[in-house]
């Protein structure tokens, strides 16, 4: 084997692969304007009740007061910067938005009164709508299971919620919970009873009504925008005509 001369084509392919390897490693770290989503900041700000989003001074108080920032891929400060710049995919696919435990420390500490927790909620909603999240990542799964359960019964049954969560993500993780589960059983804190409210129909109708109203409001707003655009275009055109 060792005596065999090196095949020149092989050498070339290795060199080729090497250069390809470095080509993949060396990456552009920013996006050109055309690749960014310019309307992203506006949409998030609207969902999160915050024109204040634009006034962020990048002081980093949010990242410093966040108890989970050292697990995040982007700290809250960077998330805000990325939103402002229009890095939509990066923001919607990061772990940060899901790791937020909604403790509101950043919201209370922010010197510019940006409602950062609400920004995270808004990003979660966007991420779920665009399916840019990992399918088996437990946090969004938990949120969805919880949502479904309450939608159906009006209340949440903790034991069922946890069982559903592990069945949909990683059933083996249940083993780690056995000790705690047995403890809960022993102390009478574990029940498999499904809780529900009496007026389930009223509750579901309320959610349906809100769903419909929200859609109507969105359509109305879109119509408004279109009407405004048409109006301003018409004004522009008329002005031009007058000048001519």
């Amino acid at each position: 084997m060792e005596d065999q001369p090196l095949d020149s084509s092989k050498v070339r392919s290795i060199v080729g692969r090497r250069s390809l390897y470095w080509d993949q490693k060396v990456k552009r770290r920013f996006k050109y304007e055309a690749e960014l989503d310019q309307g992203f900041a506006e949409r998030v700000a609207k969902l999160a009740y915050g024109e204040k989003l634009y006034s962020c001074i990048q002081c980093g108080t949010c990242s410093a007061s966040c108890p989970v920032s050292h697990w995040m891929d982007f700290t809250p400060r960077r998330v805000i910067a990325l939103i402002q710049a229009g890095y939509k995919e990066e923001v919607l696919e990061c772990f940060t938005i899901w790791l937020c435990a909604s403790c509101y420390a950043c919201t209370v500490d922010c010197p510019k009164q940006i409602k950062i927790t609400d920004v995270m909620y808004a990003l979660r909603q966007e991420a779920l709508e665009h399916a840019g999240y990992r399918k088996r990542f437990p946090i969004p799964v938990l949120a969805r299971e919880f949502f479904k359960q309450v939608m159906k019964n009006g209340r949440n049954s903790e034991s069922h919620l946890m069982l559903n969560l592990y069945m949909k993500t990683n059933p083996f993780k249940l083993l780690k919970m056995v000790k705690v589960g047995l403890g809960l059983l022993r102390t009478g804190r574990f029940s498999l009873k499904k809780e529900h409210i009496k007026q389930r129909e009223q509750f579901q109708n309320l959610l349906k009504a809100v769903d419909r109203l929200e859609k109507e409001a969105r359509i109305e707003e879109a119509n408004d925008r279109t009407a405004k655009r048409i109006a301003s275009e018409t004004v522009d055109r008329l002005e031009k005509e007058v000048h001519q």
């Binding site: 969902l47 697990w71 509101y104 574990f190 959610l207 929200e214």
Partner: protein, 297 residues
């Protein structure tokens, strides 16, 4: 004055001891209450993550029910007591955002109207800590104490949501209500820095490593400051901090055995109420040792 009591889902399952002890304490202190009929889940953080309008709508249903149940008896606003931190926050947030953002207000009100409910904006959301410390008063509480907690070092853990961002009854950075309460019960409040540090909430069930680490830091700090026991105000904080101590011991090579009680359980013990009524038997780490060494008996 009569309070309307909104238990929330946790107080009916893992946080059962909180409900038992809270109601016993209310009875001892002659606080009149009645449970909200047919209340629904507050939506917690999950509803907010998926659809905000729906989250506000379901909380507004609870507010509307409370108003209807109190029936305008003209004695000021309806007092709705929510012991779980998440429920407390969500109800407060709904109220606040309906006032501040007309768009939410319109959708929620219209939705409620379509199912025959009405919310006039006449509900005041209260946390039991607020009710007990500010309405009942520390003097009355101190009067009822039968066995003072003597030298017991108690670390009060407030958790995130009862003092921030909307809770207005205490300082969001350094709350003292529970510490004053411990003082009234005859114990010694521990001065420590992680009073309002987040316990991680549901992270312990989803991304275990993160949740365990957060809990470990809180209990570790309480222990370092020489606490005999900790008190909490939220069923999820209590669950995270108490039930996972064995896992923390395994993962971080420590030796935690810290009793984590609901603050109402500690009050009940000081009032000399029977342990069964306080749900002491439902705890993973029994406070018996700490109680006996400090109080005796």
């Amino acid at each position: 004055m009569k309070y309307i009591y909104y238990p929330g889902c946790s107080l009916k399952s893992t946080g059962r001891a909180y409900e038992e002890s809270l109601l016993s304490v209310f009875k001892t202190l002659d606080v009149e209450y009645e449970e909200l009929n047919d209340w629904n889940c507050c939506g917690a953080t999950s509803y907010m993550s998926i659809n905000e309008s729906k989250a506000f709508a379901i909380s507004a249903r609870n507010l509307a029910l409370a108003e209807a149940q109190a029936g305008g008896d003209g004695e000021g606003p309806v007092q709705l007591v929510a012991p779980c931190s998440a429920c407390y926050l969500l109800l407060l947030k709904t109220r606040r955002y309906m006032e501040e953002y007309p768009e939410i207000d319109r959708i929620v009100r219209q939705g409620l109207k379509e199912v025959g409910l009405k919310y006039e904006g006449n509900v005041r959301v209260r946390h039991p800590v607020d009710v007990l410390v500010n309405d009942v008063g520390l003097e009355k509480i101190a009067e009822r104490v039968k066995t003072p907690l003597k030298d017991m070092q108690v670390a009060s853990y407030y958790g995130c949501l009862i003092v921030r961002p909307f809770g207005a009854f205490d300082n969001p950075w350094n709350p003292t209500s529970l510490d004053r309460l411990v003082g009234a019960l005859g114990g010694t409040p521990v001065d420590w820095s992680l009073k309002t540090r987040c316990c991680g909430g549901t992270l312990i069930g989803t991304v275990r490593g993160v949740g365990l680490r957060l809990g470990y830091r809180i209990i570790g700090e309480a222990q370092r400051k020489g606490s005999d026991l900790m008190i909490t105000t939220c069923p999820l904080c209590q669950f995270d901090l108490e039930c996972f101590q064995k896992d923390m011991n395994h993962d971080f090579e420590v030796n935690f055995n810290m009793p984590v009680l609901y603050f109402t359980q500690l009050m009940g013990l000081a009032f000399g109420l029977p342990e069964k009524e306080l749900g002491i038997q439902r705890l993973f780490v029994s406070p018996e040792k700490a109680y006996k060494t400090c109080v005796g008996g």
